[in-house]
Symmetry: C3
């Protein structure tokens, strides 16, 4: 992201004589926080707690990924203020969790994770420069492109073993049929799973901890996340998506991120931006279905690509619509 968000963390903004290790810890936590666009190390710590609650393996992956991508940025001499705000951490966090989720966690896979996390740093720097002229945020695009690339490559590499949770490559068939019945449990579980799936975790408790992390950082982000998840869920239900996917939060997590980004980071809060954010959150659920179908012949998951595409377009279009005011500082 090219904007800096409200700064809250273990280490204050001033150049206090804190130890380098504490500063690095703060940076890593902010990196994890930035996955949900929060430049706040307490939020990051709560997100990390949520992940560890669900899986120690994924918690370790997040730590390794964030650390590697941040250290590569430091080694290459990236701008300290960007590093400090965690902007070189969040894509590493996500790519590590994705690789560990889809591949068996042996030594070679961990080396692969480190290479992928280093890649996200270069990709982040490249995209920051590419988008500078438009003031467009990079979002989680470096993660999405790196993860798709490193997962697709496994089809050629016999020593990387998949965990068989990757979608099977196939041809998308329309029309789908309506599968299962949506109940109150679907809605409640889907709501929090949608928040948890931002880090690819399928766990209501993790979703609740993520929501608490958001609340610590920003009340509006908290509200947007839940409303985004609900919007994605309702759109999917209304259009006849499969119940297990709705319950798992599959149609929610991209809408969560879209709503947090547009409704609490990039636009000032008024009626116009509320309507604009709602439109974007609805469209995100449709784009999720489209990207998921488009990647089916490759056996690849949609990840957070729908969020990235929709927020790029809605942010880019913003200045054309004077009814929308940018957020102060965005």
């Amino acid at each position: 992201m090219s904007v800096r968000f409200s700064s809250t963390g273990l280490v204050p903004d001033g150049q206090a004589p804190v130890s380098n290790l504490l500063r690095l810890l703060d940076t890593v936590m902010r990196g994890i926080g930035q996955v949900m666009l929060q430049n706040n190390s307490y939020a990051g710590a709560l997100f990390l707690l949520g992940i560890f609650c669900n899986s120690v393996l994924f918690g370790c992956a997040v730590l390794v990924g964030t650390l590697v991508s941040t250290l590569v940025a430091i080694a290459l001499g990236a701008k300290p203020v960007l590093v400090r705000d965690g902007l070189f951490g969040f894509n590493g966090a996500l790519v590590a969790i994705a690789v560990i989720y889809f591949l068996q966690p042996d030594a070679l896979t961990w080396a692969y994770v480190i290479l992928a996390a280093a890649c996200t740093t270069v990709l982040m720097a490249a995209m920051l420069r590419l988008f500078e002229a438009w003031g467009m945020p990079v979002l989680t695009a470096p993660f999405v492109f790196t993860a798709l690339c490193f997962l697709l490559a496994c089809a050629r590499f016999g020593r990387l073993h998949s965990t068989h949770v990757l979608p099977t490559a196939g041809l998308p068939r329309a029309p789908a049929i309506v599968e299962g019945t949506v109940t109150a449990a679907t809605v409640v579980e889907g709501l929090f799973n949608g928040v948890a799936q931002v880090f690819f975790q399928g766990s209501v408790i993790t979703g609740v901890l993520f929501a608490v992390g958001l609340l610590v950082s920003s009340r509006r982000a908290f509200a947007m996340a839940l409303l985004g998840s609900l919007t994605g869920l309702l759109v999917a239900w209304g259009l006849g998506a499969a119940e297990p996917a709705i319950r798992a939060g599959a149609f929610g997590f991209n809408s969560v991120l879209t709503a947090v980004a547009l409704g609490s980071v990039f636009f000032a809060w008024d009626r116009a931006s509320a309507a604009y954010t709602l439109l974007a959150a609805i469209v995100t659920a449709v784009v999720f279905a489209a990207v998921s179908a488009a990647l089916e012949p490759l056996g690849m998951p949609a990840l957070t690509l729908p969020f990235v595409l929709v927020v790029w377009l809605f942010v880019l279009a913003g200045p054309a619509f004077p009814g929308l005011r940018p957020a102060p500082g965005a």
Copy 2:
């Protein structure tokens, strides 16, 4: 499109005290006219007549799509001069016709049409801003991306029912075989179907009415449309495309648009631009074949993506070739 074309319409350019309804009608007709790059409400009205001649359903879809995307632009406060010229209408027109063509027209589908048309407005604004630095026209890209997205999404949504005219998803196989024999009837029907297919209509009469609409707006656009259709048809025939596809105008409509855009809108008319336009129209037929094959695993149609890609490249390359002079006002 970032350029404004010759202005002819029901409502003159000056701020005469005409009723808002008449002005909106004029804007909607210009929006329909802009599908073939004509900022002319009489041309738009003739295009609409051509569509109604073939199908009342598609005629209604065009009206709804143009109206919705235009009204969303007005509600968001888009630049009045762009709205007035129909630049927020033509993508809505096309996306509505595409969704209604490929999905069964029940209430949910109409709601889906409205959502898709609203999307094209945001996408148009986003792309106008993205392309500003290069003076590149947006063309029908917002329609193409929105339509592909909304049609692909149907693979996940059980309550949207396709009309079974979508191509079946499959793997492209080279080499193809030559199917059928091209006769004089193939050429005559293919010529006008190629013009009609710009709005996805398979009807010679509709094609003739479209040509008349172009003639009303610009003699050069009229000539370019017919020559473009003929070029696409001859290239496809020469390279051995299937006769039914040639007859249906499948290889023509993108070349129609390419020829109209390069030969009558973006470049001044001389020998250099005539050769450049001819090259582009020939290439468009090859790119149509390529895009159609590339989208086969997704079961998606090429729509007007080949036109968009070729015109982007040929317009972008223009200034590198001093032999080509831009059209006055382009």
Copy 3:
């Protein structure tokens, strides 16, 4: 490429009264040299010799392609200095070799080659303008996009007959299995085949001649090419790629180009850029596997797309890392 490289050729840079034919010959040789980023007509001549050693047909294709794309650029009035440096030749060279490799070389195919080579000129001009603001090099992107387009189109054109060496369209399946055993012969052959595959030639002798051509032009380019090939080979071996593919140089040629571009053209030579180049060469092998899998449903080869993507990103990211100094003149 937007930068001019060290100029060495048959015809000196000054406006000496040399015959036009000799000047054209020099330009064509530089065009062939630019395939490996060498603005040097002696290097180009050695590359051409290497190709003729392997196949007279491919040698003729390279000459025709380079000549057509260069002449089209001259006819359209492109900047003489760019034409002279061979920047409108190398994409034509590659597209001609690719079309002739994958299609049976009858009269229609040669016409198709000429059309494709003409396209690369327009695409080159378009991309030069598109990338100007970032100082990004175009590389072989015009070749890649044109070749994919013209090869994909064959699925619709019955009179173009493929040579059956195109990959069969299929769905990528992870995990792969480790095929064959890597021996010393694999490494030696793979090393030089990797260099030869830059022009899609599977021949150790051709690879050796290409390396000599590089040595004539630049010792650093020569070293980078061999190290790049070795890096791609070792990464593929380590991750478990199939032995026949490693031996054929499939995992090498993109890394060759990446290493030559980053290690000898775009960055000054020091420890930081050496590490950066190594990272890029490693990543290129992974991206090759990914692109190859991504194009499997279309039955299309990866060509030099992995090189193009990786070098774009690493060049674009360069200024964000002050540890990296751009090469003088780049």
